[in-house]
């Protein structure tokens, strides 16, 4: 028996384009705190639908499973991840071992990520999630909050053609036990060229009608009540709405950095 062929990719070479297939997600149900009721989860899910209606960027964790290949590029000081979707990129800093001081960090939909290699596993630690921005639902159940903590383990398999990513979420407000699931991405070979993402225009009335067709009347009202017209003083509440709209999120509340 001869010497095994060298793997085409190094053990630490995760740069490239990665895509998920239909059978590449292993997601058990999350164990949630007793106080997380179906009504709570439904409210978060409704919030995600409203975000979809208004074309808000995805953020974490939705950007990791957006239906298109994920571009991962390893640089000197960071690993940069960009989806072919409406989302902020992820900057995973490898040049520091501590998170940015929370007194300075502006929470974001992708959080503050730091990463390091432990043998053949790239470990990413993320905190600093924004309390509202981005899609909030987490695969398997639960949702992220500003106290969520995500640890990911990236490991190449099958000579570098598959990238296993194990996600573990903890959050004292949501999960009773750490919630772990795994995606296995397949490397896109050849000279792949990202395409332009499908556009999203929140002001397209035809699109809006299509999207909201599946909404309940109450959710549709919430979605439309979320809009605060440009020029409205941020201290002012949205225009008077029927009682059913009172549950709408105060979408006009400025992000922390804008106060």
């Amino acid at each position: 028996m001869g010497t095994p062929a060298a793997p085409p990719y190094g053990l630490h070479d995760i740069s490239g384009y990665w895509e998920l297939g239909s059978d590449t997600r292993s997601v058990p149900p999350a164990v949630l705190l007793p106080g997380i009721t179906k009504a709570t989860l439904d409210k978060v899910a409704d919030g995600d639908l409203i975000s979809m209606r208004w074309c808000r960027p995805l953020g974490m964790p939705a950007m990791m499973d957006n239906g298109r290949p994920l571009d991962i590029q390893q640089g000197r000081w960071e690993v940069l991840m960009t989806p072919e979707a409406n989302s902020s990129p992820r900057h995973i800093y490898t040049n520091r071992t501590q998170h940015i001081n929370p007194d300075i960090f502006d929470p974001s939909s992708v959080g503050d990520s730091i990463g390091h290699w432990d043998s053949d596993t790239f470990i990413v630690d993320t905190i600093g999630f924004h309390p509202k921005n981005g899609r909030m639902l987490i695969p398997g159940g639960g949702y992220r909050t500003e106290t969520s903590h995500l640890v990911e383990q990236y490991k190449l398999m099958k000579n570098g053609s598959v990238l296993s990513v194990t996600f573990t979420w903890t959050d004292p407000k949501v999960f009773k036990t750490p919630h772990t699931y795994e995606f296995r991405y397949t490397r896109v070979t050849g000279k792949y060229e990202p395409r332009q993402a499908v556009g999203c225009d929140p002001w397209d009335e035809d699109r809006t009608a299509f999207v909201e067709r599946a909404f309940s009347p109450a959710l549709k009202q919430q979605a439309e009540a979320a809009l605060v017209k440009a020029g409205t003083p941020v201290s002012a509440k949205p225009a008077a709405a029927p009682a059913t709209k009172s549950a709408a999120k105060p979408a006009a509340k400025p992000a922390p950095g804008r106060k």
């Binding site: 808000r56 000197r76 001081n101 974001s108 924004h130 990202p194 556009g199 020029g231 106060k259």
Partner: protein
């Protein structure tokens, strides 16, 4: 507690688009926004000349005017055929991304406004028609570049990205894909660390300082790091003989962000009234 962050300054200025204010803010924030842990970062004090990293425009030439900087550039000399087509001043695929060009209607509120008075700049924001492509001329928002194995990946903080392929491929025939905001780019690294980029397939339109560009125009960008790695010059070179009577070049300068800086997020939320609002200039003393 009121937090003074880079976002505090920058987001208030996006909708107004006052580049001079942004440049001043960038200078200011780099003195203010460095977290205490910066000393713990593994960033060498003497950098090799590389284009990789986090960059921000802090040149203050032309401060006080939207096009103050570009007015200092030598205007393009166009062929008679294109002399009438080129737009004055800006262009060149600036900005882009979700809140960029094409993002909804422009409100008609263009009248004078008193200090301290906000007004609507853009009534409908955050519409991106398949964009998510980074412009070619980065505005005062910082930009971040990673040199991967096969590509240079460039992002700004509103979600748009641009790829410059470094794997030896050639430029494709422009007819095989529709033009886009950042086009199709290939590049290589030179011994001095400069990244030389050749681009085509960019949407037709105006180029900075009175130039013009067709989708099949080829042009060159040179990202040239300083020897100490702390500064970056981005030079544009247009020489399409159909359009230019003589080569058209201009350049911007950038500074490497301070150690401890991190990429911010511009989260474009169409329901947020601040997205379409002007800056609010303070009352003058």
């Amino acid at each position: 507690m009121h937090r003074l962050t880079r976002n505090t300054l920058r987001l208030s200025a996006y909708s107004g688009g006052t580049l001079a204010l942004l440049a001043a803010a960038a200078l200011f924030l780099h003195g203010q926004g460095v977290p205490p842990s910066a000393q713990e970062l593994d960033v060498p004090s003497v950098l090799p000349p590389t284009v990789e990293g986090d960059w921000v425009r802090t040149d203050t030439h032309g401060s006080g005017s939207f096009d103050g900087l570009t007015k200092t550039f030598t205007p393009a000399t166009l062929t008679p055929e294109y002399a009438g087509r080129a737009g004055a001043g800006r262009g060149g695929g600036r900005g882009g991304g979700r809140g960029g060009p094409g993002g909804g209607q422009q409100a008609a509120d263009t009248g004078p406004h008193k200090a301290g008075e906000p007004y609507v700049v853009r009534a409908q924001t955050c519409a991106y028609g398949g964009g998510v492509q980074l412009g070619l001329e980065y505005d005062s928002e910082g930009f971040h570049m990673v040199l991967g194995k096969d590509e240079a990946l460039v992002v700004q903080e509103r979600g748009a990205s641009r790829r410059i392929y470094l794997d030896g491929r050639t430029l494709p025939d422009p007819s095989v894909r529709p033009p886009t905001g950042s086009g199709y780019s290939i590049g290589h690294i030179e011994p001095n660390g400069a990244l030389v980029v050749e681009t085509t397939d960019v949407t037709a339109g105006g180029v900075t300082a009175g130039g013009y560009r067709l989708p099949d125009t080829h042009f060159i960008q040179r990202y040239i790091p300083s020897a100490d790695g702390k500064h970056l010059t981005l030079r544009f070179e247009y020489n399409d003989p159909r359009i230019y009577a003589k080569p058209h070049t201009y350049e911007f300068t950038f500074d490497r962000m301070a150690a401890g800086s991190y990429a911010l997020e511009e989260f474009c939320d169409a329901t947020d009234p601040l997205n379409g609002q002007s800056i609010v200039p303070p009352e003058q003393q």
